[in-house]
Symmetry: C2
Subunit: 219 residues, 2 copies
DNA sequence: ATTAAGTCGTGATTAACTTCACATATTCAC
DNA sequence: GTGAATATGTGAAGTTAATCACGACTTAAT
């Protein structure tokens, strides 16, 4: 499928570029340089040029990049012409935050349905997304291939097992549990407690210089 | 401060190790091998041994690691003996999720206060954390050095500026905005929309093999 | 005591990614 | 047109991290 040549680090930055290009177009800008882009997304301009170069020569020397062309290119590359359907498991505070987040706005990714065990929530809608009972998950899931996991950690393994059996191929896991899946299922962990603790650790042990940025700010 | 020799990639994994060691101790286990640890946290066992080795010889050949010793060591290394105070800016769904999350349980990191612009929320408490008006931020912040930003993107720059002036040194930024800060302030971005989009991109363009894991599952 | 099995710590290697630096091409002002 | 300024695309170098593979040591069983 496509060029598998594109480094993963580059792939992770593509959505960021895409979003910012959308902003630029809405502002009516027609051209942009890697330097401008760099300041906006906080990625070194050489890295941006390298990233783009994996897809060929998208820019013009002495000019920069044409916003509309670049945007069209990324739209295709990021499959933005087809809607990606997502399921959300666990309608707590974090889950609710996702339901109220309008991903479709410039992502063409949509949470189609949500599940929870709380009878108070079942049958309601949040952000236009219907909430079903977790027991009905298998029959409701249909052909959805991506799930967001915002449930208590102790439920993670059991629910994951059920998702995998039903054919889910991608899981965005917000539980602290390190879930086990077959080789053909991709899991991205986002562990809020660890992110916070890591930030604190860096603050105490990797002091940044007031001037002369030998170390980068974000990672 | 300490050894700056520890790779950032290692530092990011320390909180993960720490949490799992806590679990082990609660289960009454007294010893653990890098192989066991590897299966639990999904990090290659050689990487774990390498990570630990930056702190000296913590294990014993043919035996593994003593859970209690290791735990005590990491407690010191991760400064778990002193409480780290954190402020939360923006009490929406995402912010509320944080307030209800008991970080202190095994982190010794505590959200001390929260701010919001909504008069409905000001004066209340969530998860034991008092909510103040955003206009009172400067006078209430005191000596807190770390902030979690869960506000709308368009507010991000203005609030960040105020936080920086007040002396905040670390920001966990959940807004899509790429905020600008002086060199001595550290920002970690967690961009939920981008995480989701990146996962979808990987699913479509980097298919995983059912067997023979040439590519890793998590990143 | 001897042996087999287990496990660490690490030198060496490989891999992945970032950044530098510059030849080359384009634009723009006058 | 001409020259100065601007920017790309990329070879090469640098940086960081992951992984291999094995010597050295420990444990435990017989």
């Amino acid at each position: 499928m496509d060029q598998n040549k594109i480094p993963q680090a580059t792939a992770k930055r593509l959505p960021l570029y895409y979003r910012f290009l959308n902003n630029l177009q809405m502002q009516g800008k027609t051209r942009v340089s890697s330097k401008e882009l760099s300041e906006a997304v906080k990625v070194d301009s050489a890295t941006i040029r390298r990233d783009f170069s994996y897809f060929g020569a998208l820019g013009k020397k002495g000019y920069g990049y044409n916003v509309e062309y670049l945007l069209g290119f990324f739209r295709k590359t990021l499959d933005q012409d087809e809607l990606t359907e997502v399921a959300l498991i666990g309608v707590g505070n974090l889950g609710t935050a996702f339901l109220n987040y309008n991903f479709t706005k410039n992502n063409n990714t949509k949470i189609m349905l949500a599940f929870d065990a709380d009878p108070e929530k079942v049958g309601k809608e949040i952000g236009g997304v219907p909430i079903y009972h977790i027991d009905d998950m298998e029959e409701r899931l249909g052909n959805v291939k991506v799930a967001i996991l915002t449930i208590p950690a102790q439920e993670a393994d059991r629910i994951t097992e059920r998702l995998v059996v039903k054919g889910i191929k991608g899981i965005l896991n917000f539980t602290p549990a390190r879930i086990t899946v077959p080789d053909d299922v991709r899991v991205h962990h986002i562990d809020l407690a660890i992110e916070l603790q890591a930030l604190v650790y860096f603050l105490k042990h990797y002091p940044l210089e007031k001037m002369g940025n030998e170390e980068e700010n974000t990672y």
